[in-house]
Structure formats: C-alpha cells, structure tokens
C-alpha cells in the first residue's frame, strides 16, 4: 500500500523532473560544445604547425605527446605540490591585494583631497607593467615569498581600487537621496547603500585585478625561485633549462586551465549579481 502511494506521488514528480533534467542537459550542451569545438580547432592548428616541421619534435611536440605528459604528471605528487604552492600564493596574495585595494578604493572615493592626491596615480600604477617591480622587490625582500606578494599586490590592488571607485561614483544620485531621506548617514550610508550599489562595478574590478594578480604571480614565479617551494612557474623554468618541451607545454596548459576556471567563477558571480540587481536584459 505504502509503495503504491509512493508510486502515485512519485510518478508526476518524475515526469516533471525529466523535462527539467533534459532542459539542464540541453543548456549545458549549448554552453559546452562551442568551447569543445574551439579547443579542437586549437589542437588541430597546433598539430598542423608541428606537422609542417619548422621545429624538431623535441622542441615543439604535438598535442598528443603533451596530453600524455599531462596525464602522467597528473599521477605524480611533485606536480600537486607545485600546483598547491602556486594556488596557495594566488589565493593568499590576491586576498591581500583585495583587502588593500578595497580600503584604498573606499578612502579615495570618500575623500576629495585623497582623490586629487592619488587618484591618477592609481590609474598610472594600473598601466605600469608589474614585471618592472621585480628588480626592486628582489632588492628589498630577496628571493622570498614577500617579494612575490609585494609585486602581486602592486599589480592587482589598483584594479580593485579603481573598480570600487568607479562603482561608488556611479551610484545613481536618486538612490543617495532616497537613502538620506530614510536616515542613512556616514558609515551606515556606505554599508547599506553605497557599497551594495557599487557591487557590480566592484566585481568587474575584482575580475580585472585577478587577471593582473595571475600575470604578476607567473612573472614572479619565473624570476623568484624561492628555495624549497617548487611552483608551476619553477616547473616552467626547469623545463626550459632541461629542454623538456613536453613538460613545459603541459605546465602552460595547466596555467591556461586555471585562468579559465577562475574566469568562469567570476562570470557566474557577475551574472548572478546582474540578475539580482535587475541589470540583465
């Protein structure tokens, strides 16, 4: 009897679930296939260049050999150690850049004097190639984690700050009036109205900041080999020194994949916020 009831209750639910599952599958497929096609075309071009024979195999191996190497690396603990160190640096240093950039952004947006003093400098810093900071960083901090942190923060914090500043500048004046009417002043105005209103632009700044942080980190890992900290950058460098082209390309593919995954996460967050704010069309 109980089973029968379960069936009766379960049947329509299952019927409802099926089209839904089909819809999700269809949407996933329509999002995935262009990427797969693009990857296939990229691999095809790569293979074509290899087949034309401009370089010998040991300098430019084909995708097949590199993918096999990637699979082999994926079974080794030293690969995960390097991956872990790089990701840990990426997360920690980016978090520091985020904190510093946010504080700087709020301060500059709130103070006219500070804006006049350092507003254009922040934009200037943003366009400065971060790799140019490394000689100074190595002089100041030696071949250490702190040298990498220093450069990643200098690379990423200006973007984060600029995103926040433009977000705060673009808060519609009508919302600010409404906020003042309902009694939001000073810190509560920022906490409840200005910062939430600035969030979409801020996330744009975070995304750009991440791109700068990731580039700075790679430059740092190539230049600053901290003893006992084998990172993905160090693997790249060693692969070049040992003329291990397969290992080099395998590491580069890992870097590319990490970049794509993080970008995908930012994309999801941005879409969510835009949908909630009613900005999506």
């Amino acid at each position: 009897m109980a089973e029968l009831e379960m069936e009766l209750v379960g049947a329509p639910a299952a019927r409802r679930a099926n089209p839904r599952a089909a819809r999700i599958a269809r949407r996933a497929w329509s999002a995935t296939w262009p990427k797969l096609a693009a990857a296939a075309i990229g691999l095809g071009l790569w293979q074509l260049v290899v087949s034309l024979g401009f370089w010998p195999d040991y300098l430019l191996p084909g995708p097949g050999a590199v993918v096999a190497r990637l699979a082999a690396d994926g079974g080794r603990s030293d690969f995960y150690l390097a991956l872990g160190i790089t990701l840990q640096r990426a997360a920690g240093d980016y978090a520091a850049a985020l904190a510093i950039g946010s504080l700087l952004g709020v301060a500059v947006a709130a103070s006219r004097l500070l804006r006049r003093a350092v507003g254009s400098m922040i934009t200037g810093l943003q366009s400065m190639p971060t790799i140019a900071w490394f000689p100074l960083a190595i002089l100041l901090f030696g071949l250490s984690e702190r040298a990498i942190l220093f450069v990643v923060v200098l690379g990423a914090a200006p973007s984060v700050a600029n995103g926040l500043i433009s977000g705060i500048d673009q808060v519609p004046p009508l919302l600010l009036r409404a906020a003042r009417v309902i009694g939001a002043r000073g810190p509560s105005l920022y906490r409840h109205v200005v910062l939430p209103a600035a969030l979409p632009a801020f996330v744009g700044g975070l995304k750009q900041g991440w791109a700068f942080a990731w580039r700075s980190l790679m430059a740092g890992e190539l230049l600053v080999n901290v003893v006992g900290h084998p990172s993905l950058g160090v693997r790249l460098q060693f692969a070049r020194e040992l003329a291990d082209a397969e290992g080099l390309l395998a590491a580069m593919i890992v870097l590319l994949l990490i970049g794509m995954v993080v970008d995908g996460v930012f994309g999801v967050v941005e879409r969510r916020i835009r949908a909630q704010w009613g900005l999506a069309g």
Binding site: A178, V181, I182, G183, H192, W277, G278
Partner: protein, 245 residues
C-alpha cells in the same frame, strides 16, 4: 500645526548666476490634513519638498515641523535594486535601530498595509510600476513619520494604476492620521486627493492661490463636480503661466 513655513526663500548660486527658486513662501499644514500643491514644472516645488525633508536648508525665513518627522517620496520609486521588497521596507527600520524580531513584524504590517504581502520576496525589477511605488510608500511609512511629502509620486504611472493608488493613499492617510503635502502638475489629481489645493507660480516659486476642496469623500476622479473645480484651478495655472511667459 504639523508644518509651518514663514517667508521661506531659497536661492542657488552666487552673484550674477544667482537663481531665486523660492520667494517668500508661506504655508502651513494642519495635523491630519491633505494638501496638494500644483504648479508647472520647474516652479520650485521640488526645492520646497527638499527643504521640508531636511535635505536642504532655506536661505531665508523659518521652517517649522514642530518636531514632527517628515519623509519624502519621489516620482521614481528609487528602490534599492539589490534588496527585496521586504528588504527595502526593512532598511529604514534597521537604520532606526529596531530589533530584528520587531522589524519582521513591522515589515509584515507595512506590506499588508500596501497590499503586497505576497510580494515581499520579490526584487524591484520583478514588480510592476504601481507595485514598486507601493513598496516606496511602505518604505516611507516605515520611518514612522507624521508628515508625508510626495513629489509627483504617481506621475509615471498609467491612469488605471494611478486611480487605484489614489484609493490606497487616501485609505492609508486616514488610517495613519498622516499630514500629506502632495505635489503634482495634475489639477484633477489634486482635487481628487486634497483638502486644499495650493497653486504654485514659477520663477520664483511662491503660493499664488488657494482652493479649498469641499467635495465629500470618497471622490471619483471622473466626477463632474471634481472636473469643475479642476477647471478653475487649470485656469489659474494658465494665468500664472501667461504672466510667466
């Protein structure tokens, strides 16, 4: 007296660029009174409301709200898009420091008052124009203000929605015993809602005429008696515009 203005002037800018927005405006609103202010665009009506809402200060004259709290509603709902309808209504309560449990009860009460109980979880972009303006009204009422200032609040709505909101506003005004200053450029709307209608002249803004509305409530915006008075107010407005032009 809920609100009293005596010879209030307001100018912007300095020297040769100085613009007189309000010229010696004197008006008062009794507790529980519904006063409508009609005038052409750019006649300083919004400046007047900003002064009353405490967003700006008069250049001259005295402004007395007798300690009563004022709140202001705009033509646009000006809702916070990242908050739900309930969140928008709750924010003024949070800013007043009301404890959470009490806030939840008050939000439910206010949403019920504007008949949006089922829509508390929606975001502004998921609501119709009329619903958004009702959320804005609930948010304004959440400030426990005795004086409600409204700056053409239904100007952007279609006629049917506006008609329904007139009924709602009238009911809430009565239930809450509010004093209302309602700015509009629509004389019919003014006669539909107001106990008194003030005609505002432009450049500089001042009160040019006053029309008491003795029609019994509830009124209908399409009733002939209402149209007669509205026509007289329109004539007065046209006279002001001619003088101005």
């Amino acid at each position: 007296m809920a609100v009293a203005l005596a010879s209030v002037s307001k100018h912007f800018g300095h020297g040769a660029d100085e613009v007189l927005a309000l010229n010696r405006v004197t008006l008062s609103i009794q507790p529980g009174e519904f006063v409508c202010l009609v005038g052409a665009s750019g006649s300083g009506k919004s400046t007047l409301l900003n002064l009353l809402a405490g967003l700006d200060r008069p250049s001259e004259g005295s402004l007395d709200t007798g300690g009563a709290h004022t709140t202001l509603m705009f033509q646009e709902p000006a809702l916070f898009p990242w908050l739900t309808a309930a969140g928008n209504v709750e924010l003024p309560l949070t800013l007043r420091g009301m404890p959470k449990a009490e806030r939840r009860r008050e939000v439910a009460r206010l949403l019920e008052l504007v008949r949006l109980t089922e829509f508390g979880g929606r975001h502004p972009h998921e609501l119709s124009g009329g619903m958004r303006q009702r959320v804005a009204l609930a948010r304004a009422l959440a400030q426990a203000a005795e004086v409600l200032l409204m700056d053409e609040p239904f100007g952007a709505l279609d006629a049917i929605t506006r008609d329904l909101l007139h009924d709602e506003l009238e009911r809430i005004w009565r239930e809450r015993g509010l004093s209302v200053l309602f700015v509009t450029h629509n004389a019919r709307e003014a006669v539909r809602l107001g106990d008194r209608v003030l005609v505002f002249s432009s450049r500089p803004g001042r009160v040019a005429a006053e029309f008491p509305v003795d029609l019994p409530r509830p009124r209908r915006i399409e009733s002939p008696e209402l149209a007669v008075l509205a026509a007289r107010i329109y004539d007065r407005l046209r006279l002001e515009a001619d003088l101005d032009g």
